[in-house]
């Protein structure tokens, strides 16, 4: 502790990681608000929620779960690679992570546009004629997966920055806090999806 005070530009790995963990708490509470709303309305309209969930394509949902779980693994492996000073392997694994994230987003795009074709989107006439519970289900579906997709995009940007920094050697065997924090963030994105998937797709 004491020698870290000698220089203002000191590099405190623990502080950086702690800051990230606290930030992840806030993210959990952000989604927590939505999960709370979900819980309230699912209790109130459980039959409608089941009907709404049966409209979702659980195959695409499962595929996306596989993509995200695999990407969590590759990003963890990339961290081990950089710790072992294997720069090329780390670059490869981060790229794979970004690609899996892109596949996830592509699936999401097809899924949403498919819904849009059937005029299932907030404010549409089709949705307004559904039961109130189904209406709320789709409202939650768009809000939760939308906010989650936004996090996937942010994660992809973070990982791309890592790609550049690993290439330049700024993120290296001795200093890999950025990659470690990005990986933590990526695990959070994955973790939230693990809860979204059953709550939205599998409750039929």
């Amino acid at each position: 502790m004491s020698d870290s005070h000698n220089n203002i530009e000191h590099f405190d790995n623990e502080a950086g990681k702690m800051g990230m963990w606290i930030f992840l708490f806030t993210e959990l509470f952000l989604f927590g608000g939505l999960f709370l709303v979900y819980a309230v309305f699912r209790t109130k309209y459980s039959a409608d929620f089941h009907a709404g969930a049966s409209e979702l394509n659980s195959f695409i949902g499962t595929l996306n779960t596989v993509f995200l779980l695999t990407s969590s693994m590759t990003v963890a492996m990339s961290l081990t690679a950089i710790q072992k000073n294997n720069k090329n392997l780390a670059l490869f694994l981060v790229s794979v992570t970004i690609m899996l994230a892109a596949l996830f987003m592509m699936n999401k795009y097809f899924e949403w546009s498919h819904k849009f074709e059937f005029k299932i989107y907030p404010g549409s006439s089709v949705l307004k004629n559904m039961n109130r519970g189904e209406l709320l289900f789709f409202g939650l579906y768009y809000m939760m997966t939308g906010l989650h997709a936004l996090h996937v995009l942010v994660g992809m940007i973070l990982l791309s920055i890592n790609l550049v920094k690993i290439k330049r050697g700024v993120v290296n065997m001795k200093r890999y806090l950025l990659l470690e924090n990005s990986a933590l963030y990526w695990h959070l994105v994955d973790l939230i999806w693990i809860f979204l998937f059953p709550l939205l797709y599998l409750i039929t």
Partner: protein, 540 residues
């Protein structure tokens, strides 16, 4: 501090970093400069909101339309509330005094993430500007009240989205400040400064920071849901679409009640610094103050329902929230006993900071007691929609947090600017502010009890006496505020140089020159004693 001759001393005010001129401020990551920038912003926005408040008081001089109609009045109290709550009272104490003094009080050179600190300052400015813009731009000032209750906030044709976005961004800024402080306190304490050798202001900030981090995201997502309701027709809170307006109120108060403790905990921290210094006596019951801070932060997270006794909740929910509301008064009362016992038998030096701190106790106690009237189920129904609530709220927020802010600025002013202000004028302005405040808000309790509705531009003739007394009080209060600010501004430029330790304080900020150097400490101090150790001051 004997070896200052070996190198030249440059105050942080004159320190030039990588950037010159104005950019040495705007792009500085020095916690002290960021704290001062927050201070300037807070003062500017404070007077914007004060003027809105004064205009409302003028409107209320007589029943019926005096200077503005109902729509304008609704816009005024909404923006007054949004600015005061989200731009001033929530951020002011942590962002101004926390930024400036937290690192110094724990013997660090800066906060843990200086660049993040600057970033949250700019988020704050962005949110503040959006908040003020909502008053002037687009389709008219928002008229929902600062609480944004749905379904009205989803339907009102005014600039509600601006105000919602502003509150969202300000919340994000608040989260980042809190995060920064938690990590700073965990990682940057000087060698020897164990948790229980930490002064009480950092402790208060620590409890506050956890509320900021854990509660603010809830308001963030809630505001996003209201925005989605307005923009995308997602009706979480719209009964016509199956939603539930009371659910909004729960989500709103899950944050906004703990936000009251974000405001008042650092205020308690500041006066806990002031009482020992001006009594020249160790603080009474250090541990009790620390644990009551943590207890307030914890219990305060489970009282939000007391804002909704008239909104429709189950019997047991109301019982629970009323009970926890009474419980949370206990740690606050413990602190009051501690401060008074600290003064008992001390050599009291009645300087302006102590006057404000004593004012804080007096007003906070009135606010606290009237809070119990509101917290008990039966009497709440009687006074819920009346100006009694307005008076209670302002006694806690302005009388509590506001007075602690004034106490803090008078306490630390010599350290921040290296100048001393005029005591006589400071004392006169204290009298004006204190008397004006009580004349302003106390009648609101009485007419509120008699049925004067809140948030109304009009009233029945029988309330006029009370309203006129209130308005006169508000003018005295504003005069006092102006006098205080003028006195301080004059001191920045023309005040006498302040010594390093004008109040004979023993915490770390008084051991370094006024104003401090760029990196606070030449050598990081080693902490051996408990804080507020007045016995043999030379050992510090």
């Amino acid at each position: 501090m004997t070896d200052t001759g070996s190198r030249t001393y440059v105050s942080y005010l004159d320190h030039q970093g990588r950037f010159k001129g104005i950019f040495s401020w705007l792009l500085s990551t020095d916690h002290k400069k960021i704290g001062l920038m927050y201070l300037n912003a807070v003062i500017v926005f404070f007077f914007v909101a004060v003027i809105l408040g004064l205009l409302m008081r003028i409107e209320l001089l007589a029943p019926g339309r005096t200077i503005m109609g109902p729509q304008t009045y609704n816009g005024m109290f909404t923006i007054h509330g949004v600015i005061m709550v989200f731009i001033i009272v929530i951020p002011a104490l942590p962002a101004v005094f926390g930024n400036f003094f937290l690192p110094i009080l724990i013997g660090a050179k800066d906060v843990a993430f200086p660049r993040l600190n600057l970033f949250s300052f700019y988020l704050y400015i962005l949110g503040a500007i959006l908040g003020v813009l909502s008053q002037f731009a687009g389709s008219g000032p928002p008229d929902t009240g600062w609480t944004f209750y749905v379904p009205y906030s989803a339907q009102s044709a005014t600039n509600v989205i601006y105000a919602l976005t502003a509150a969202f961004i300000l919340g994000f800024s608040s989260i980042l400040t809190g995060l920064n402080f938690i990590v700073t306190i965990h990682r940057m304490r000087a060698p020897g400064m164990t948790w229980f050798k930490m002064p009480l202001f950092p402790w208060a900030l620590y409890a506050t920071a956890w509320i900021q981090v854990l509660a603010t995201p809830i308001i963030g997502i809630t505001l996003l849901m209201v925005i989605a309701e307005r923009v995308l027709n997602i009706g979480f809170f719209d009964p016509a679409l199956g939603g539930d307006p009371v659910l909004f109120q729960h989500l709103f108060w899950i944050y906004s009640h703990p936000a009251v403790y974000i405001m008042v905990l650092p205020a308690m921290g500041i006066v806990s610094e002031i009482f020992p210094t001006f009594s020249q006596k160790p603080v009474f019951g250090y541990g009790a103050i620390v644990f009551s801070s943590l207890a307030i932060a914890f219990v305060g997270s489970f009282v939000w329902g007391h804002h909704m006794f008239t909104s429709g909740m189950s019997y047991w929910a109301r019982w629970f929230f009323s009970f926890t509301t009474f419980i949370v008064a206990v740690p606050s009362a413990i602190k009051v006993f501690n401060w008074i016992s600290t003064m008992y038998g001390g050599s009291i030096d009645l300087k302006p900071p102590l006057l404000y701190a004593i004012g804080f106790i007096f007003l906070f106690m009135i606010g606290g007691f009237t809070g119990l009237t509101l917290g008990s189920l039966a009497s709440n129904i009687q006074v819920h929609g009346t100006s009694y609530v307005v008076a209670h709220f302002h006694y806690i927020i302005f009388g509590g947090m506001g007075f602690a802010f004034f106490a803090g600025i008078h306490y630390w002013f010599p350290k921040m600017f290296g100048k001393m202000y005029n005591f006589t004028i400071a004392n006169i302005s204290w009298v004006l502010v204190f008397v004006g405040f009580n004349v302003f808000y106390f009648p609101q309790f009485i007419i509120g009890f008699q049925g004067m509705p809140r948030r109304s531009f009009d009233y029945l003739p029988q309330f006029q006496t009370g309203e006129v007394i209130s308005s006169i009080g508000s003018m005295v209060l504003v005069a006092g505020l102006f006098l205080m600010v003028i006195n301080l501004f004059r001191a920045v430029y023309k005040g006498d140089p302040a010594p390093a330790n004008p109040w004979k304080g023993v915490t770390l900020e008084w051991q370094i020159p006024s104003p401090p150097e760029h990196e606070n400490f030449e050598t990081i101090p080693e902490i051996k004693n408990k804080p507020y150790f007045f016995g043999n001051t030379s050992t510090n």
